[in-house]
């Protein structure tokens, strides 16, 4: 899992950004994780935005926040949940491709 956090561009308010991707090696597994995690929206959409895409067996996640602490809280809660869902996929997923 590769993560890269970066900070400012000329301010649009959403100055705190974070991108990371997880390689599941399977389009089906990546999309199961995507569908599972996409249901729960960010609780403060005026402070944190999250976008996800699936491509080539990878899940791409993009966070934007107006303050570092909101980014940190959302990112950390999201990753904790993603780890659980990934474990479930590893345990019960049928490897395709």
């Amino acid at each position: 899992m590769a993560a890269a956090a970066s900070t400012p561009e000329p301010s649009s308010g959403w100055d705190f950004k974070c991108n990371f991707e997880v390689d599941y090696g399977s389009e089906e597994q990546a999309s199961i994780v995507y569908k599972t995690l996409a249901i729960d929206k960010e609780l403060q959409p005026d402070k944190v935005k999250r976008e996800m895409t699936v491509s080539g067996g990878k899940l791409f996640v993009h966070f934007e926040a107006v303050e570092a602490r909101f980014l940190r809280a959302s990112f950390s809660a999201f990753v904790d949940l993603m780890v659980l869902v990934t474990k479930l996929v590893e345990e019960y997923g049928v490897a395709d491709s």
């Binding site: 199961i32 994780v33 569908k35 599972t36 995690l37 249901i39 729960d40 609780l43 809660a77 904790d80 949940l81 780890v83 659980l84 869902v85 474990k87 479930l88 996929v89 345990e91 019960y92 997923g93």
Partner: protein
Amino acid sequence: MSSAPSPASRRPLGPLALGLESSANKIGIGVVSLSGEILSNPRHTYVTPPGHGFLPRETAQHHLVHLLPLLRAALADAGVAPADLACVCYTKGPGMGGPLQVAAAAARALSLLWRKPLVAVNHCVAHIEMGRAVTGAVDPVVLYVSGGNTQVIAYSEGRYRIFGETIDIAVGNCLDRFARVLELSNDPNPGYNIEQLAKKGEKFIDLPYVVKGMDVSFSGILSFIEAAAIEKLKNNECTPADLCYSLQETVFAMLVEITERAMAHCDSKDVLIVGGVGCNERLQEMMRIMCSERGGRLFATDDRYCIDNGAMIAYTGLLAYAHGVTTPLEESTFTQRFRTDEVQAIWREKEMPVLSNIHADAMAEVSKDEASMPTPIIVDS
């Protein structure tokens, strides 16, 4: 907990469901059949140090760690494979957001992985259905008492209607928080330790008695006894046991009062107590006396069933599933607020076949002429 006979010796009737519960400080996963048989029901509780409550974030962390081991245990104990299940059920609410999310997300993933439909379940309704299934109570007035909820409920025209409830904190919250004042252990749960200490109480201390029509209030009682505890214990006017005893007698009397009024209103003779506080034997004893005076029966269960567990979610989800209700993935959210009377109890409308599988070991139907005292638990060492 549940010591199940070997899987091979059982042939459960009807479809099976897996249920995931994580709305408060317990995470539980159960497998049940539509006939009411519990094939497995492992659970793990987040126990905090004396003097401390459980916070959403830490509780969710606990659930994240224990979910997968519990899931493996639930399937192994039941002796079933994912393919044997009809549906995957989870607690939609009410409860604490962070903890709720753990079971909701896991249920979604399992539903997708196993290609099984999802069923979202109301936690309060699940307590009621579990209580009915385990005790065989058909149409009782229900007292639902736990750390997060206090409601008097009866079924009427398609829904479980709330006849009375707390207007502030739950009775279990009142007891738990008083246990923190006394720094009692939270293991196995603070209410249990209050109950044991209360048995040694001798002196009754007058506390506010707050019944407002059909509703009750506990926050003022808690404030009063917190202040009284500090003052009276300092001056050696009473013991912690006296305070526990007085608190239990007062709040349970309030609950019995509103339950009795609901019985009169509904013209019902039977009472079912569910929820974590429902395993308190003093509450059961007081309720039993009231019921017997009205010629009725008390139905109650022990800690295996009245404390939050996965089987109650599985069973209630399965009732809905058997009546054609499932939850599309897009709607498989969770919510902190979810009232008991929001749920259309469709399985009660079309009269279900009477549950064939009443658990003989559950404490049910106490006959009224028996001088019924619960077996005392010996606490002195």
